[in-house]
Symmetry: C2
């Protein structure tokens, strides 16, 4: 059973301010909590159904986690998901746990939508890109919608917030920076770097901001065959990564 105090503490973490002050965040649902248990992220508290606790007993013992048994209904009522018949974890914010190979990087300029950031984490993870660099006005990584949409990929992809002009200025001069535009060179025709690069994506509403354009070494575009005006930023990122990575597959 969940105490009133525990319920209050979990609900507090729905709010960005509390997450920042406490350095904690929520991870919810069976698959993603199972992935969390297999990672080295620090779990402060775990609330789970007795079915989940039975199924993951070995991992819980190995990590010395004393899970609090709860009904599915309770998990849904204190968490952010509309239904959760498995588990909810309170986790320490600890991006430093991730050791990254930064040969390929996604740089994100002003991505506000949490679903899009989560989706970008999942796509980066699929394409073996272990580092995201986000402009300071990007949505917070620990927003529950970001974590949920990432489907566990937040465990493997490091996210760093930094002013992008400063980040780009710090890169070696020969690092290719691919900027996604609506009028660049077709990604079907470019000869991408086989070893490393940065893919820069702007917001759906505003694109890449003018002050960053000067850093872009390759203006690229996804060829259109029909009449849609644009693609969702996550979709665009996946198609670009697929083209940049295909030479090494």
């Amino acid at each position: 059973m969940l105490s009133k105090n525990q319920a209050k503490n979990i609900r507090a973490l729905h709010r960005k301010k509390e997450r920042r002050e406490q350095g904690l965040f929520l991870v919810e649902g069976e698959k993603i909590v199972a992935e969390l248990l297999a990672s080295n992220w620090r779990i402060e508290a775990l609330y789970a159904t007795s079915e989940f606790i039975d199924a993951y007993q070995t991992q819980l013992i190995a990590k010395n986690i004393d899970a609090v048994p709860c009904r599915a209904q309770t998990l849904a009522s204190v968490g952010t998901l509309s239904s959760n018949n498995a588990a909810l974890a309170v986790v320490q914010q600890a991006p430093a746990h991730i050791k990254t190979d930064a040969s390929w990087v996604l740089a994100l300029d002003n991505i506000n939508d949490p679903g899009n950031l989560g989706s970008l984490l999942r796509i980066a993870d699929w394409y073996g890109i272990q580092q995201l660099v986000c402009s300071p006005n990007t949505v917070e990584l620990y927003n529950p919608k970001v974590i949920n949409a990432s489907k566990g990929s937040f465990l493997r992809v490091a996210v760093q917030q930094q002013a992008l002009p400063e980040y780009f200025a710090s890169l070696p001069a020969d690092k290719p920076i691919y900027g996604a535009y609506l009028d660049g060179e077709s990604i079907h025709r470019i000869s991408p770097s086989k070893t490393s690069g940065v893919v820069l994506l702007g917001s759906e509403a505003h694109g890449i901001s003018p002050e960053l354009a000067a850093f872009v070494t390759h203006k690229i575009t996804i060829p259109a065959f029909g009449a849609a005006e644009s693609l969702n930023v996550g979709v665009a990122a996946a198609v670009i990564c697929d083209n940049l990575r295909r030479l090494t597959s």
Copy 2:
């Protein structure tokens, strides 16, 4: 000003049953209503801010539409969007308005999430795919979340609901059917048809159902370079379409 009766009629169209019985649905927001005005879909009623009415006066006169002026707050309160400072249209369901070239088709097996179906419409439209064939258990096209996520692409892509075994059986024997699996041939290595084909996508949870596997002529896979288990179905569709279409670009 909106009458009580008009508000009631709009709110009724939030429900699938009412949409089906009345053969009507809602289209909301500036960009998508502007695209609607440029199409030949039939508008039954239009509610809009005076700014929108002023900006689109020419189109409204040309179509003989008597728009009802409303405040943005009213549009949001009767519609399905959390904010709408432009317009809301009540539109006739009329897929027959779309003339399609069915050389390329997306076939969808059991796609339940309205955001995913909307996203698939937008992706099909980008890649010049004018026909979707959906299994009967696919989410309804006229669900407001589908329409909104499609960003106007529902105006240009025809959606037909049909049992997929029946649809596949009706195709010419030499039509390639590309099925997206986690263990097929790499889409980076196949030599796709240059002229036509069907791309079959299953639900994120269950993949392509076994009874459809027999119709698949090419089992294909998006190569992974990292640790994510899967991609969102819309993201996967875009990457597959990009690879199938690149030979003709």
